[in-house]
């Protein structure tokens, strides 16, 4: 069946709209003009050199990476059993618990960030890095639970039941049968949660502190004072990395199913 032209036109416009800005920012990052405007003039890699030479960007990149990985791992370890329970069991108060587990995605990030800042100060002396990690873990929870749930839903419990009836303990069946079968879901959850953490602004805004800042916060802070293609260059690097991760995740796992 042939698709009508108007359909193709709308779709093309949608994609230009969605992707165009990223191409734009990529183009201006090579402009030798210190002013960002269109069309870009000349060609230089100077903005990339500058961005990579700013020490604060390098140190905050590592903070973001470490926080993201640790928080994602924790959110998965805590989230997988929750998702499993919600798919396999019916119990009283399930709706309430489901609301609890999805609420970090509903409450505005700024409120979460501020509440946690107050709380961490109240219980005193929680190091800033740890507070940041705990806060990120909390906001990643809904993502891991949701993604793992949807992948569990697709995995029929029959094999697991069979394993149990063949004498395997439920715990053993979980590790031997369930986990391997939802591998794609786990990796997808990991990638999505990590990206969410890596890009987070509102929660990090409050939970960063002396000596501990994340990359997006540092970028925003830089943008308060400077308006030059350094941010374009840095953004381009991040965008390219994101494209690589997303493309390979889509190829291997069909990650868009889980978003």
């Amino acid at each position: 069946m042939k698709n009508s032209k108007i359909l193709i036109l709308i779709t093309a416009l949608v994609f230009i709209f969605l992707i165009g800005p990223f191409i734009m920012i990529f183009l201006t990052s090579f402009s030798s003009d210190s002013i960002m405007r269109f069309p870009p003039k000349g060609f230089t890699l100077a903005w990339y050199t500058k961005a990579l030479n700013i020490e604060m960007f390098r140190t905050t990149f590592w903070v973001s990476l470490k926080t993201g990985l640790a928080a994602t791992a924790t959110a998965l370890i805590l989230g997988v059993p929750v998702a499993y329970a919600n798919i396999r069991f019916n119990y009283r108060g399930k709706n309430a618990l489901e609301l609890l587990f999805s609420s970090p995605a509903i409450v505005p990030g700024m409120v979460i960030g501020f509440s946690l800042l107050r709380f961490f100060v109240y219980v005193s002396n929680i190091p800033i890095g740890i507070g940041l990690y705990l806060g990120h873990t909390a906001i990643l929870f809904p993502y891991t639970v949701r993604v793992v749930s949807s992948s569990l839903r697709n995995f029929e419990g029959d094999i697991e039941q069979a394993a149990i009836s063949l004498g395997s303990t439920p715990l053993h069946a979980f590790f031997a049968v369930v986990l391997p079968n939802i591998q794609s879901g786990l990796v997808a959850a990991f990638i999505l949660a990590f990206i969410t953490s890596f890009n987070n602004v509102p929660v990090s805004l409050f939970l960063t502190g002396p000596g501990v800042a994340t990359l997006p916060i540092q970028m925003l802070s830089y943008m308060e004072y400077y308006y030059d293609p350094t941010i374009s260059a840095l953004s381009s690097i991040i965008i390219v990395l994101t494209v690589i991760v997303v493309q390979s995740a889509e190829k291997l796992l069909g990650i868009s199913k889980y978003v």
């Binding site: 501020f114 100060v121 005193s124 502190g209 002396p210 004072y225 400077y226 308006y227 390979s248």
Partner: protein, 358 residues
């Protein structure tokens, strides 16, 4: 690369990165010595992130080297840093905080900063009089002076000579002013009042002018980069600007000129304060004294980072013209009482929002 190897890779990566801090803890703390009594200690400073590389070179690194201490910084704008300081009030981790005057005043009111001990800051003797105690009660030291300037595009508009000129029709759609929540927001209301026949205690006429100007503004800008972007994109032909962003505005390459209007300009200090409850009180004082020293003030001025308050700093003309420097300019600056401004803040923001939410 299969799914399994992706998983394996992720697991190894997480493990390595999570364990890394454990290994990094091995460093030994250096012990204090007779000539370096603070050696091995850590001083935490809350400051703006602007020109960080130059601040490290001119201010932080020399201090670390001289006293053998380690400096940790928290960077961000006034409001973000203030919020964190207030939230950690009972258990502060910051020792010295930089703020704009209004925010320092608020910090003083909420008991977040403590009075300094002048005996521990000998360099106070070498700085200009109004910088020594801008808040009263010795809560803060002005370590640099700034002003709100006024610039225009010489190729687009006729020279501005008065704050009244902001209402000229040729500026309609090409004007921006600082938002009321910024350091110099209230100053605009004061200056417009003064220009149009009111004064600092009677700002009704100023507010009337703000309401008239509102539709002709591109936007009210929230930070200097926003103004910079507006200038570069030729969205703005004239605007009041914060003196430290003058270099960036000139770098836009357009013909711009700064003027001293007949009603004068607005001056202010960036201040440094000792945080209340700090465990490093002596070191905090030592740092503030360092900040006021001739060497630091000179180096900061020569790199066009901060205008000096040190009376001994003499600058070449080509440097001085880019800073808040020189008797002629300083004589034209108004300094407002932070207490008065702070008392009006909530009302003024509400009033401003009402005008702009239409």
């Amino acid at each position: 690369m299969g799914k399994r190897s992706v998983m394996g890779f992720i697991v190894v990566l997480v493990a390595v990165l999570c364990l890394q801090p454990v290994f990094a803890q091995g460093g030994k703390e250096a012990a204090a010595t007779a000539d370096m009594p603070y050696k091995g200690q850590t001083l935490t400073i809350s400051m703006w992130g602007y020109n960080m590389d130059l601040l490290v070179k001119n201010v932080l690194k020399p201090f670390e080297d001289t006293y053998g201490v380690k400096i940790v910084t928290e960077t961000g704008n006034n409001s973000d840093r203030f919020t964190k300081l207030a939230a950690r009030k009972d258990n502060p981790i910051v020792d010295v905080a930089y703020f704009a005057g209004t925010w320092a005043y608020e910090a003083m009111k909420q008991g977040l900063i403590q009075p300094y001990d002048p005996a521990k800051i000998p360099n106070l003797a070498n700085i200009i009089e109004p910088a020594k105690d801008p808040l009263g009660g010795r809560y803060a030291v002005g370590y640099t002076i700034q002003h709100l300037g006024l610039f225009y595009r010489t190729d687009k508009v006729a020279p501005l000579t008065s704050w009244k000129d902001l209402s000229r029709t040729e500026l309609k759609g090409f004007l921006s002013i600082p938002g009321i929540t910024t350091t110099y927001g209230p100053a605009i209301v004061y200056m417009l009042s003064k220009a149009w026949g009111g004064d600092f205690s009677n700002t009704e006429v100023g507010w009337q002018k703000i309401a008239e100007l509102a539709p002709s503004l591109v936007t009210a800008y929230n930070n200097s980069s926003e103004l910079n972007a507006l200038v570069i994109q030729e969205e703005v032909y004239a605007a009041p600007y914060t003196s430290f962003s003058w270099g960036n505005i000139k770098a836009s390459g357009f013909p711009v000129a700064s003027v001293i209007p007949e009603e004068g300009l607005v001056g202010s200090f960036s201040v440094a304060s000792v945080v209340k409850g700090t465990k490093n009180e002596d070191l905090a004082h030592l740092f503030i004294d360092h900040l006021l020293s001739y060497e630091v003030q000179m180096a900061e001025a020569m790199d066009l980072v901060d205008s000096p308050v040190h009376t001994g700093v003499k600058l070449p003309a080509e440097i001085g013209e880019n800073l808040t420097y020189g008797d002629e300019l300083i004589a034209k600056l108004h300094f407002f009482d932070e207490g008065d401004t702070a008392a009006l803040q909530a009302d003024w923001i509400a009033r401003w929002n009402k005008i702009f939410s239409k």
